[in-house]
Amino acid sequence: MSALLSVQGLTVRAGGKTLVSNLSFSIGSGERMGLIGESGSGKSMTAMAVTGLLPANISVTGSIVLDGEEVVGAQDKHLNRLRGVATAVVFQEPLTALDPLMKIGKQIAEPVRRRLAREMGQAPRVAVDREVLDLLDKVALPQPQRIANAYPHEVSGGQRQRVAIAMALACRPKLLIADEPTTALDVTTQAEILKLLDGLVRETGMALLFISHDLPVVAEVVQRVMVLRDGIALEEGAVVDVFANPSHDYTQTLVDAARMFDEALGRTG
């Protein structure tokens, strides 16, 4: 069986600098993969390249096959069909993904309507509205009705992040790319979101590319993990193995730092 996403020799360059070099990995349906590395290591760049969202002045070489289609060099028209059906993204900064002048409910309704129209040939308003509220409820938002009627700047940072997650889930993608989706969430809310993602992977066979710098969270969510530094993949493997026996010093420092914070809380891992 061929993988849902297969990346071969991906290289991303901007203005003479190489931001990601020669990256290869693949994700199958129902698989969960994590991408870790410090700030500026090229995690978001990789995610954007997979969706073909990088601007024209950034060069992408290599091959990215998503749901049987080549992304590198593809026409935008073509990619638009892939986005939202094959894949959806939760962006690192939720505010950039939301229109400041449109009510949240209306923004989520758009992908819902598109999907219903595609799947059932019609999208009755009641069905769309019901599904929007249902999605808001699923991402652990209190008072879904109020949030649906609010503008993005009228809800809290963590609530906005959950709205962005709801919007990505509205597409029911085969592959969900989540770029630091829980940074703005407190631990209790974060736990609920992680449980939701876990459930979706189990029930619908959705694949997950999970980007995070939070090692304990990564350990909880994914099976496989890839460590990036300066755009180069240092190691890849089962998350338990990588965290227990890092084969690279850099990974060791990441793991040590994570344990140090655990200790600051007066506990050992």
């Binding site: 500026g40 703005a184 304990p216 655990d262």
Partner: protein, 247 residues
């Protein structure tokens, strides 16, 4: 007493209260962690402390003056003392300004004399960004790098108080340690209000903490004491649900 909140109540609309009877003190030079569930009112509290909103009842004092957003002369003085770091780093940087101009804005607006470029360079260095960042635009940086630009802007004018809203949550651990160390050095001379849902960071940075639930202070005091023996069920739940490194 640097900042003092007394029975502060606030709601964005009349029907829904966001903060209820919030009272606490922040000593000069203290670093206070503000912890709470998403939507519990942390950012709202910072907005009040910044003078962007006015309490519907209760008072906030800065030293022995009442913080009144309508008092222009007071606000001008107050703005010199307080700098915020916002939760969403991308939206807090003007996409059309170069990093140099972004970081220099407080110096310019507060009419702080002295070589601007040097001050900006110092601030960039403190947050661990290269000096050539000055001539670039925000979109050329990663999420964590943008967050550090926002922190550089907050420290450049050497304020007395920094109100940081999830200032390190977009950062990986090694960068986070660096920024936490930076805040620690700064907090020797600075008052720091540090909003975070990351108890690990609060534990390593703040001697005191205030825990908000649903707009109410449910627990406050020495961080060490609270972590060792959380009194309120919410705090206990919060501590219990932190993901840990696998053994």
């Amino acid at each position: 007493m640097m900042l003092n909140l007394q029975n502060v109540n606030f709601g964005y609309s009349r029907h829904r209260k966001v903060l209820t009877d919030v009272s606490f003190n922040i000593r000069a030079g203290a670093s206070v962690g503000l912890v709470g569930e998403s939507g519990s009112g942390k950012t709202t509290l910072l907005r009040l402390l910044l003078g962007l909103e006015r309490p519907s009842s209760g008072t906030i004092r800065f030293g022995d003056e009442v913080l009144d957003p309508a008092d222009g002369a007071f606000m001008r003085r107050y703005r010199r003392s307080v700098q915020p770091v916002f939760q969403d780093p991308y939206s807090s940087l003007d996409p059309r300004q170069k990093v140099l101009d972004i970081i220099a804005e407080p110096l310019q607006s507060l009419r702080i004399v002295g070589p601007r470029k040097d001050a900006v360079a110092q601030a960039l260095e403190a947050v661990g960004l290269p000096l050539d960042a000055m001539q670039r635009y925000p979109h050329e940086f990663s999420g964590g790098q943008r967050q550090r630009i926002a922190i550089a802007r907050a420290i450049v004018a050497r304020p007395e108080i920094i109100l940081a809203d999830e200032a390190v949550s977009a950062l990986d651990l090694s960068t986070r340690i660096r920024i936490v160390e930076l805040f620690k050095t700064l907090s020797a001379t600075l008052t720091l209000v540090f909003v975070s849902h990351d108890l690990g960071v609060v534990a390593s940075l703040c001697e005191e903490m205030v825990i908000l639930e649903n707009g109410q202070v449910v627990e406050s005091g020495q961080t060490r004491d609270i972590l060792a023996a959380p009194q309120h069920p919410y705090t206990q739940r919060l501590l219990a649900s932190i993901p840990r490194m696998p053994a």
